[in-house]
Amino acid sequence: MVVPTAKEFIDVTLSKTQRKTPTVIHKHYQIHRIRHFYMRKVKFTQQNYHDRLTQILTDFPKLDDIHPFYADLMNVLYDKDHYKLALGQINIARNLIDNVAKDYVRLMKYGDSMYRCKQLKRAALGRMCTILKRQKSSLEYLEQVRQHLSRLPSIDPNTRTLLLCGYPNVGKSSFINKVTRADVDVQPYAFTTKSLFVGHMDYRYLRWQVVDTPGILDHPLEERNTIEMQAITALAHLRAAVLYVMDPSEQCGHTLQEQLELFNNIRPLFANKPLIVVANKCDVKKISELSEENQKIFADLSTEEIPVIETSTLTEEGVIKVKTEVRSDSRRARSDAPACDRLLAQRVNTKIKGKKVHDVLNRLHLAMPSKRDEKERPPFIPEGALNRRKAMEVDTPKRKLERDLEMELGDDYVLDLQKYWDLMNEDEKNDKIPEVWEGHNVADYIDPDIMRKLEELEKEEELKERAGEYESDEESEDEEMQEIRSLAKQIREKKQLLVLESKEKDVHGPRMPRTATKVEKKKLEKEMSNLGLDMNDKNDSHYALQARRSRSVTRKRKREASAPPTSKTRSQSASRPPRDQSGLRDVKMVKKAKKMMKNSQRDMNRQARKGESDRHVFDLKPKHLLSGKR
């Protein structure tokens, strides 16, 4: 978690108080409500400060609780006293804030108006914020410590480690770059590496840490600066194999004598640690090319049972030799065994000497069968395993990979996986295998017995053929049958035609019987001739004769209309007089009647009505009446 600056801390907490507590309060509320409102704010702020400060205090490691290597490292980097002081200040601030809150909450219980309570709350919050403002420098320091601490390399102090040390610029960082996947800066000036770096490598199926230190110069402990002290701390606390890197070519800027001096000075730190001297930059100058005195130095070292190995990180010779040496098993003399093996052996030894071993040893029991006869029964190791082990130890070139082949041939390379196939005949490897034929998959027919089955099938087929199954049984039909068929066809066609004709007629409504319609002579003759009848003497036929014999149609007499009576006679004729003359005595009366008739008709005529009952309105909405403004 980030350690906030004092200002930020205050801002955040106060705004939080404002957002997360209720904000509305009025004078006229009940006093207990007002008090509760303001007390809540004070307590909320106190709670926030307390929580955050506690979090900070717990997140920072206690120097007494962590591994002494890290404790020492932190002391070197951050100064133990300053660190403890800063955390102490934070603790004090937290307690003060709690006290302030407690006091003011107690006071608020006696606040009797909103104004008083509000002022108390203001005072409380103000005091808390002032306390925190005073912690500004501590908080800044702790933030910086946190950032640096998070970037420290994660060195496990308990696991297998190789430690590189020596003068600046001798080639420690180049070594670690070669051996592990670490990418440490390598530059021609001294003190390129300013802090510890870790890399990991694998050896014998175990993970090893390789720790790169900044260069150490030769002066007493008190005068060392922070950077060198890191190296010294690492040397002091990590139980690792030490690789003291020297530079016989003196390219680092220091003579071999100086390097030897340093070596002797640091000697006490190498107690109980497997030590190897690495003479780096041997591509520039080999030990054998050195002067007599210098060679003597190396000879002295060898006599002291410290192996000296020549390496060159540029040409990579000897680098592997430093960490491995395949022929080693534990029976070999110590002086020849390299760093890793020695460290492993040492670790095993210390474990055996310790207390925990007995727990494990008590549970292990190697059962040896008792000999029942003199026959030798050595353990069986398959040849493949032995070969594999040999191949591991010696760096034999593995079989040629496809990749190598690809690089060789360049553009000509063609990926041909078929060449690895394991077939019965070797020369069939490049065959194009048929897969599909006419919609069938060849793979579905593959069967070692297929020829036998095919033979059986063919035999069956032959038998069937002989039995006559495949003969076509279409008898040639006799003429009669053919004629019948053609007639049937004609009949079917005729039927269809009749159906179509009747559909075409499309008669709606009541249908006249067939006999009501006249049949044309021509049509009759045509139909009959189609049916095969002989139409040669059609004039003698029945229908023709009948047609000639029928009578001509006579017309009906018209009925004559009877004449109306002109004079008035006593014996009046039975025929009725017309209405406009019946019941009228003389001309005068006739005229009057006529006049009356015309009178009654006049109004109607004027209104263009047909009669009395004619109520038809020609124009329901006449335009001349309805248009315009009303």
């Binding site: 077939l423 069939e428 034929w437 793979a443 049958m481 009749l498």
Partner: protein, 164 residues
């Protein structure tokens, strides 16, 4: 590369054609065209859909049990390539195909033979019943009568001659 069978119509699905549907119980259904796919989605039973091979085989309209059909089987254990075996297999395949086709055709012919018989009988009844639609009953009768009369007369003449 394999030519698969369509689940619905049992037709061939060539590579690059059709659709494969994988159900939640890991059963794969291949379809040769969207017609089959859509029918499947409508949950139609291929054994009841008349145009599919499954229906035809289930309804006995096509040859189902036969030795020539036993050759084409999906085999789960692959056999190592052997040129001789493959060559023989391709030849055998061709021969088997011939025989298979012949037998299938034979089967269908047998099935349809009855139909020809029925057709014949139908034609006969049709003619018997409805001959009046194309030929009047006494169409050639007048001529026949005439011929008969002529023949009779000739016989009479002959008889007369004989008497004399």
């Amino acid at each position: 590369m394999r030519i698969e069978k369509c689940y619905f119509c049992s037709g061939p699905v060539y590579p690059g054609h059709g659709v494969m549907f994988v159900r939640n119980d890991c059963k794969m259904f291949r379809f040769c065209k969207s017609k089959c796919h859509k029918n499947f989605k409508k949950k139609r039973n291929p054994r009841k859909t008349r145009w599919t091979k499954a229906f035809r085989k289930a309804a006995g309209k096509e040859l189902t049990v036969d030795n020539s059909l036993e050759f084409e089987k999906r085999r789960n254990i692959p056999v190592k390539y052997n040129r001789q075996l493959w060559d023989k297999t391709v030849e055998a395949m061709k021969k088997v195909e011939e025989i298979k086709v012949k037998r299938q055709a034979r089967f269908i012919m047998n099935r349809l033979r009855k139909g020809k018989q029925l057709e014949k009988e139908e034609a006969i009844t049709e003619v018997k019943k409805n001959i009046h639609l194309i030929k009047a009953p006494h169409a050639g009768k007048a001529k026949q009568l005439e011929d008969k009369m002529v023949q009779r007369l000739q016989e009479d003449v002959e008889m007369g001659n004989e008497d004399d």
